[in-house]
C-alpha cells in the first residue's frame, strides 16, 4: 500500500460511520436512553479511600496536575464532582491544588456544584481551590509542602502528568495517604503503579468519569468509541483468521480484509 493522502472509499465509509455513530449515540442519550457502563474496580478504590478518610477524619487532596482546559479535564471533573459530593456529605476538608489558571475557573465551578448537589452549598470554601504555580517543578514542590502540612488521608491524582508525577506520588506516600492515580500518559502510569494504591490506566479515566457523572456527552462518546473499537477488533480477528488460512493453504489466494481500507478509487471499475 502506498502512502495515504486522500481517503480511499473504505476509509471514507469508516469516517462517515464514526461521525454518524457519535451523533446517533448523542441523540439517543439526550432522549433519555440509559447506557450500561460497567463499574470498573477503580471506582471502588475511590469510594474506599474517602470512607477511610471519614474514619480517620483526615483531609482529602484532589489534583488535576498539568491538565489544561479540554476533554481530559472534563473527564477529571466527572470524578472530582462525585468525590467532592461525598466529601461534603462526610463534612471532611477538601483541597484542590491547581496548575492552570484557566482550568482553575472551571474546577471551582464544578466543586461548588458538587457541594450544592450534596445540599451543603454553604460549606463550600473557595479557598480550598489552591493555585500553586504554572511552572512544572514549582507546582510539584508546592504540592509536596501542602500534602505534608495537611497530613492528607487520601490523595487523588487525575489527568495529564509529566516528569513531576514522581514528586507528587512520593509526597502522598510519605504522609501515609491512600493514593489513587489516573493518567492518560502511559510513561507515568508505570510510576503510579508502584507508588500508588490503585492506578486507573488510560481510558479508564473516561470510563470512571462517565460512570460517576452520567454526563451525556461523556457517556455518548464512550459508547461510540466502544462500538468503533469493536469494529476494528472484528477486522483484526477476520484478518488473523485469513492470514492463518493463507499460511496453512499457501496455494489459495484469499482477498485480505485490509483491501477494504487500501483499495483506491481508481482501481474500482464501475
Amino acid at each position: 500500500m502506498g502512502g495515504l493522502e486522500h481517503a480511499t472509499p473504505g476509509i471514507l465509509v469508516t469516517v462517515a460511520f464514526a461521525v454518524l455513530l457519535l451523533l446517533y449515540e448523542l441523540r439517543r442519550v439526550e432522549r433519555g436512553y440509559r447506557h450500561f457502563i460497567r463499574r470498573i474496580p477503580g471506582i471502588d478504590a475511590v469510594e474506599g479511600a474517602i470512607g477511610r478518610c471519614a474514619e480517620q477524619g483526615r483531609a482529602v487532596v484532589f489534583t488535576t496536575a498539568l491538565t489544561d482546559v479540554g476533554p481530559v479535564l472534563y473527564a477529571c471533573l466527572g470524578v472530582l464532582h462525585a468525590v467532592a459530593k461525598r466529601v461534603a456529605g462526610y463534612k471532611l476538608k477538601l483541597i484542590v491544588p491547581q496548575y492552570s489558571p484557566e482550568a482553575m475557573v472551571i474546577v471551582e465551578d464544578a466543586v461548588r456544584g458538587a457541594y450544592n448537589d450534596a445540599g451543603r452549598g454553604a460549606a463550600f470554601d473557595p479557598q480550598s481551590i489552591v493555585f500553586l504555580s504554572s511552572e512544572q517543578f514549582a507546582f510539584a514542590s508546592g504540592y509536596m509542602g501542602l500534602v505534608h502540612r495537611e497530613k492528607a488521608g487520601a490523595a487523588f491524582m487525575f489527568g495529564v502528568f509529566a516528569a513531576e508525577a514522581l514528586v507528587l506520588a512520593e509526597a502522598g506516600q510519605q504522609v501515609g495517604a491512600q493514593q489513587i492515580a489516573a493518567s492518560v500518559s502511559p510513561e507515568q502510569v508505570a510510576f503510579f503503579i508502584c507508588t500508588c494504591d490503585y492506578t486507573l490506566i488510560g481510558e479508564e479515566l473516561f470510563g470512571a468519569s462517565a460512570y460517576m457523572s452520567r454526563e451525556p456527552v461523556q457517556v455518548a462518546t464512550l459508547a461510540a468509541q466502544d462500538r468503533l473499537k469493536l469494529l476494528f477488533a472484528l477486522v483484526i480477528i477476520i484478518g488473523v483468521l485469513g492470514a492463518t488460512l493463507q499460511s496453512i493453504y499457501p496455494t489459495w489466494s484469499l482477498p485480505t480484509v485490509d483491501l477494504f481500507f487500501t483499495t483506491e478509487w481508481s482501481s474500482l471499475t464501475w
Partner: protein
Amino acid sequence: MILAVGIPVFLGYSRPPSRLVSAERMYEVMAKTEFKPGEVAMVWLDFGPGTLAENQPQAEVILEHLFRRRVPVVLLSQYQQAEVALQRVPREVAKRLERELPDQRWSYGEAWINAGFRPGGAIFIQALVNASDISKFLGRDVTGMPITQYPNFAAIGGVERVKLVGEVTGLTGVFDTIIQFFQKGGYQPTVVHGCTSITIPEAYIFLDSGQLKGLLEGIAGAAWYSEVLKQHYPKSDNTKLLVVNTALSAAHLVIILLIVIGNLVPLYQLLRQRLWGSHG
C-alpha cells in the same frame, strides 16, 4: 548516584555496549537504501536542551553514516529550540570526518543544507508532501540563500525523491506527525527514528507494522550503532559515546540496587515485628 556516574566518566573507562538488534537492522537499512543522483535524505532534528543527552549522539551517528555515503542531507526542524543543534551537529560530524580522512571534504551547501525551523507541524508536512518541487517549496536556507542555488539540492523535485526520512526527537506528538502525514498516494519513505528511551516501547509497534524501518533506542542504541559503524569504518571514533554509555549502565545498577534494598528493608522490619513482636 553522582559517584557511580562520575567514576567511569572521570577515568574514561568504557565497556562494550549491549548488542541491540534494532540498531543493527537500522544499519542495514541505512547502508542499503539506494540514492540515485539528485535524490536526498531528509533528517529532522526535533530536540532541545532537555533531551540533548540522548538525541545528539543519535543525530551524530545518523549524519556520520549519511556523510560517509555521500548522500546529500536536507536538515530541518519542527521545534524552535533545535536551532543550535541544526547548526552545530553537522559541522562537528564533518570536522570529525575531515580529521579522519584529511583528503576529503564535507562542506555546507554540498554535503548538507540547513532549512532551519519550520512552524506549522502537520499543516507544514502535508503541504511539503504535496509540493511539486521541494527546493522551491523550502525557499531559503538558514543563511538566506535560495536552496535552488546549491547544485546538490537545486532540483530535488517531488517528495518521491526523498528516499530516507530521519526523525530524531524526544517530544511526544512530533514523531506522530511524521508517521501520519509524511506519505502520499504511491509513496511511503523509509523512516528511521532516534528516540529518547522513554518512548522506546511506543516505537516498537511502528517497527512491527513497517511504518518505521530503523530505531535507535536512546544512548544504548546510538552506542551499539557506533560499534557497528566502527566495524565497517575502523577509524570511526566513538570513545566518548562508549564512556557515557558505561556510566549510564553503572547508574542503572545503582537504581536496581536501590529498588531491591528499598523493598527488602520494610520486608525485614515487617518480619522482625511479626517474629519478635509476637515473642516480646
